[in-house]
């Protein structure tokens, strides 16, 4: 897929909603499109479904050029954010609709419908109407209605966003398992980074109509390439600096906190301005008066208790840094106090060098 899309704005100018999207989604993988609202992820999904046409470029599904093919002739099905169940049809008839359109014989269709309802554990409600179901149940019906057609690609448009947190977490796991057992390619659109991390094999982080970074969940989290990815996917501490020197195992960067070592400096030049990114949970706070290599002095500004972990806001070199520390033992002496002076260790392996914006 290689797609451009622009919308004409009311004032007559054009806004590029999607720009130079070049994605290769693999057969049978769980792929997420992650980004803030307005980044173009839903437009991209709608182009895959056939509801919108790209202004330039090609959409290829299963080796066939699908550009310009109307939605009802694509072997792609969508689970809509609003579920979009037919209110006047029973659950069973909703799920059977796609098979009926394909001309599947009634007896065979009934069997497949029941199987699909079983798969999403909603078979008991087959005779009900959508307005007699809860949000989570409707979600399951919408899912059954799509998977019963055994599409080549299943598109999911923020399907969990209307559900409460607990149900959402349950369904995240269920969806991931379902995808694995069906072997259908899932393209999942979400603005929830945790959702994307939990479920996807690979994902694309999108921003302003472009793909910022594409890769496996772990790769994107551990080695974000841009400041946007570093902050959208989890949170990050960004430290700016100038490259002092590059050697075989990394680089040394001069920052407001003094020189810092990173093992990610390949391809840097001496004198270049760079931004380093480090995840809050990779930082280590110590009660140590001396600072050694890659250690900086910091003062505890604020402590946020979130149950599983403590989040420390530290002040260092005129900058605020965030540290997450697992709340492993009650009353352990790793708990720090307000205004306490600490030594903060920034492991060189976890100091990632970002690309210039």
């Amino acid at each position: 897929m290689d797609v451009f899309k622009s919308f004409r704005s009311p004032s007559g100018g054009e806004t590029r909603v999607l720009d130079d999207i070049d994605l290769d989604i693999r057969r049978g993988e769980f792929f997420s499109l992650l980004g803030p609202s307005g980044c173009g992820k839903t437009t991209l999904l709608r182009i895959l479904a056939g509801f919108e046409q790209p202004d330039a470029g090609q959409v290829i599904i299963g080796g066939q050029d699908m550009t310009g093919v109307p939605p009802h002739r694509r072997s792609v099905n969508t689970v809509f954010q609003s579920y979009a169940l037919f209110p006047h049809l029973s659950v069973q008839d909703n799920v059977a609709f796609g098979l009926k359109m394909k001309g599947v014989p009634a007896t065979q269709a009934r069997h497949r419908v029941l199987q699909a309802l079983d798969r999403v554990r909603i078979a008991d409600f087959a005779a009900r109407r959508p307005d007699q179901l809860s949000g989570g149940q409707r979600q399951r019906v919408a899912l059954a209605r799509a998977i019963v057609n055994e599409p080549q690609v299943l598109l999911l448009d923020e399907p969990l966003s209307a559900l409460d947190l607990k149900l959402r977490k349950e369904l995240q796991v269920e969806l991931a398992n379902l995808q694995e057992s069906l072997g259908i390619t899932f393209v999942f659109v979400t603005h929830d980074q945790e959702e994307a991390l939990v479920m996807s094999d690979r994902m694309a982080v999108m921003n302003r109509g472009r793909v910022e970074q594409l890769g496996r969940a772990e790769d994107l989290y551990e080695r974000p390439r841009t400041a946007f990815v570093a902050n959208f996917l989890g949170s990050s501490n960004l430290i700016e600096g100038t490259v002092l020197g590059v050697d075989g195992i990394g680089a040394t960067v001069q920052t407001v906190h003094g020189p810092l070592r990173t093992t990610h400096g390949h391809g840097l030049r001496t004198g270049q301005n760079v931004t380093l990114s480090v995840r809050p949970e990779k930082l280590r706070m110590e009660r140590d008066d001396e600072t050694e290599g890659n250690e900086i002095r910091a003062t505890v500004d604020d402590i946020v208790y979130t149950g599983a972990e403590n989040q420390y806001l530290l002040r260092a070199g005129g900058q605020q840094l965030v540290v997450f520390q697992l709340n492993a033992d009650i009353g352990a002496d790793e708990d720090f106090d307000y205004e306490e002076q600490v030594a903060l260790y920034l492991p060189p392996d976890n100091l990632v060098v970002l690309e210039e914006a």
Partner: protein, 275 residues
Amino acid sequence: MLTVRRFLATLGPGTLWLGVFLIVPALVMLGYSFLTRTDLAQVGGPWTVENWERVFGYDALFQEWTADNLRVLWRSVWVAGLSTALCVLMGYPLAFYIARQGARRKNLLLILLIIPFWTNFLIRVYAWILILRPFDLVPSLTATLLGMVYAFVPFFVLPVYSSVEKIDWRLLEAAQDLGAPPLRAFMTAVFPQTLPGLIAGVLLTFIPALGTFVVSDILGGAKTALVGNLIQNQFGQAGDWPYGSALSFLLMGAVLLGLWAYARTAGHKGLEELV
């Protein structure tokens, strides 16, 4: 004492309105239909069922029977039915067209739809004489039909329009996504959503069309009299109020029969949804 007062209080203005403007007049009419006409178009005794015999085509002694009234009623039913059908054919797409325009254009079109109401209805119907005369269509049943479609189309378009406004278009995409070609997708996802408006529009068109007399009087001529003309004539020229009252119950009966048939097919919820 308190319960009586509370009972009266709950009756409220709605009941009062219905009582004063619907029940009481209907009862008066029912009473009239069993009375006799007197000189100077007055109503008086003695009590009689003669008017009802005439309604159903018998003479005073049950010796002769004519189908004249039933023929007029039947003609009224199919003319009203045909004009309603034409209203549906014209108005249903029109309602969609208006509802899918931008906000400014939509308001403009709605105003255009309503503006004719600012002119007196009689004058507008007379205008049709001028329009149709060159085609040698006045008086004729065709002219009546055209006039009725013209008069009632806005009453059909407005309720359908309000249904179309509320349509969840995502259902259309869902149907297409599941493999339905455009027409099939429309029938599955959109048509059912317009059904309340469609039914309301049909009733708002059919019922007045069944009782109209102005259009058929001006455009139709004597040979194509409708039940409305027959009734109007009794209260006007003929001055026979008791017979007119009995005839209007015939019309009311036809309407109620139609509503009953509708309620039977659509189930109990149907009528409530409309009101």
